[in-house]
């Protein structure tokens, strides 16, 4: 009941269409978006958001870069790779602030700590940067990479794990597969990669073409604020906040999603309470970029001032955090949403 009631004579705001491509099938990570939609936040903001889902996460940035969709949810590492490949895509809000990707094993494999990976078989999704996590983890644990057998199992991570074809997987999410396996009483050992020596990064990030941010600045701004309100609402009442997600996606299991939302709540918001929802930590991006360079995933560091902006975030954060690595260089004026500082 917080909406102001403008006079009956006032015309409704013109609605603008905005297409949103999720990173994967709708799931608990998207809970705030559905909440915002159900609460009419997009409508209030004069937006009609068309939600689209891929079945193939690799296609998300392709569609953004090519301009098929206005905004999308993608992964921080992939956005950096896309920039390195010359695509002018820009991250403008984080949906999940920290890594979800985890090392998961089942009790029979007896992997309590990374050092136990020695002589074991690890399944990965064949994604280069995730494979590099394993290198980093092993290095930190002092295990010779040659002593670990790696298997590229594509999208069959969980099946390979459950079929005992691998001793551990690297690539599944602690908040999803981790929860689901626990619920199903498989007693998994789940460790997020950032707890194993991989630099922290934002797992899910809102992204758009720079061109879109420039041309449709206002729409994107309104969109981000609406989504933020959605996630805030979920935080206040996670159980009721999950209902819209479940309504929109009847194939989701209610108990699982509620539990995932519960577990993930903290990761939807920056650690620092002062920062608004969606905060993008430039130092984190820089550290991660450095790690990518060190691991041969990037040939050179990318210009972060072109890749990331916090200009679209709500409240205090808006226009504030735009920084280059080390905070020294001045922000690029070409950056979308730049209003000087």
């Amino acid at each position: 009941g917080e909406r102001d009631e403008p006079g009956a004579s006032a015309p409704p705001p013109p609605t603008e269409e905005l297409s949103l491509l999720l990173d994967y099938h709708p799931n608990a990570n998207h809970v705030g978006i559905y909440k915002a939609e159900a609460d009419g936040r997009f409508e209030d903001a004069g937006l009609k958001v068309r939600i689209q889902q891929p079945s193939d996460p690799a296609t998300v940035l392709q569609q953004v870069a090519a301009g098929r969709v206005d905004v999308a949810i993608s992964y921080q590492p992939e956005i950096m790779l896309a920039r390195a490949a010359g695509s002018d895509v820009v991250a403008f809000a984080a949906v999940v602030q920290r890594p979800l990707t985890s090392l998961i094993s089942l009790p029979h494999a007896k992997i309590a700590k990374p050092a136990d990976l020695k002589g074991k078989t690890v399944g990965t999704a064949g994604i280069a940067y995730q494979t590099a996590y394993l290198d980093t983890i092993l290095e930190q644990a002092g295990v010779d990479p040659k002593d670990v057998k790696r298997v590229n199992v594509g999208s069959g991570l969980n099946q390979a794990l459950i079929g005992k074809k691998v001793d551990a997987t690297l690539g599944a999410f602690w908040n999803y597969e981790g929860v689901e396996l626990t619920r199903r009483d498989r007693r998994p050992v789940v460790v997020p990669v950032d707890e194993l020596g991989v630099p922290e990064y934002a797992e899910l990030v809102l992204v758009a073409r720079a061109e879109t941010l420039r041309d449709r600045e206002s729409a994107v701004r309104r969109f981000v604020r609406a989504v933020a309100v959605g996630y805030d609402a979920v935080k206040r009442d996670p159980v009721r906040g999950t209902i819209p997600l479940l309504r929109a996606n009847r194939d989701l299991d209610a108990e699982l999603q509620e539990e995932v939302v519960e577990k993930t709540l903290g990761a939807f918001f920056p650690k620092d309470d002062d920062k608004p929802w969606g905060w993008l930590d430039f130092d984190g991006w820089a550290r991660y970029g450095q790690w990518m360079v060190e691991n041969g995933l990037l040939k050179q560091r990318i210009a972060l001032d072109q890749a990331v902006t916090t200009d679209f975030l709500p409240g205090e954060g808006a226009g504030e955090g735009r920084k280059t690595p080390g905070g020294k260089a001045t922000p690029s004026e070409a950056l979308p949403g730049y209003r000087g500082s």
Binding site: I51, Q52, Q53, P54, S55, T59, Q63, N158, G163
Partner: protein, 262 residues
Amino acid sequence: MRRPLHPAVRVALGVLGPLLLLAAWQAYVRLADVDPILLPAPTDVAASLVDDRSLLWDAFVVTGQEVLLGLATALVLGAGLAILMHLSAIVRAMLGPLVIGIQAVPIPVLAPVLVFWLGFGVGPKIVIVAIICFFPVVINTLDALDRVDPDLGRLLQTMGASRRQRLRWVELPAALPAALSGAKVAVAIAGIAAVFAEYAGAEQGSEGLGLLINSARFSLATDRAFAAVFILAVFAVLTTGALALAQRLLAPWAHRRPGAPR
């Protein structure tokens, strides 16, 4: 003089075969104690079929539509292209390798480009189903046209038949039975083609069986994934059966009973 089976017996056996497989599967899962996330028991799948029926039905409607539209496109374009390649040695030489080459393009590479052009609606799915189903139709039709007894065509030539008339009266009817074998292959694989096609993505609320299978796997609800697969399989059996029937009705002369004289 072999007797054909009574149709009722045939249907009974057709049901018995899969039932035996299901029984063996059930026994295996129970005895070997296979994790249901990996391979659910048929009874679990059946339970999911019942529990998730409305969900599955909605997804099936989406996928069924993609299958039918894509298949229709494939049949029309496939037969058309085969005829064109049959008529023109130049078209054939130019397009032959292309048609085969395109067949070898994995869907995941193709899908994003199609989505870019056609959006997340039914468009790219129809194109993908059509591409997958198109090839057996082309090859079978073209090969069948090539094998037509040339004497028949030459006889028509003496009657002053135009190229088009020769095609209409001799080559198409002669090639029809073998061409329909290609259509049968196309029909049988159309379902799986639609599943792959849906990996291209979809608009919220219009997910087909392909997406359903995938998200079920993501949620470790393997029984639901198998329930969807079961629906796909039944659909394939029914559509292929319908085409086999059509084959007999459309080309009765090619299916003389072995017992009948002459």
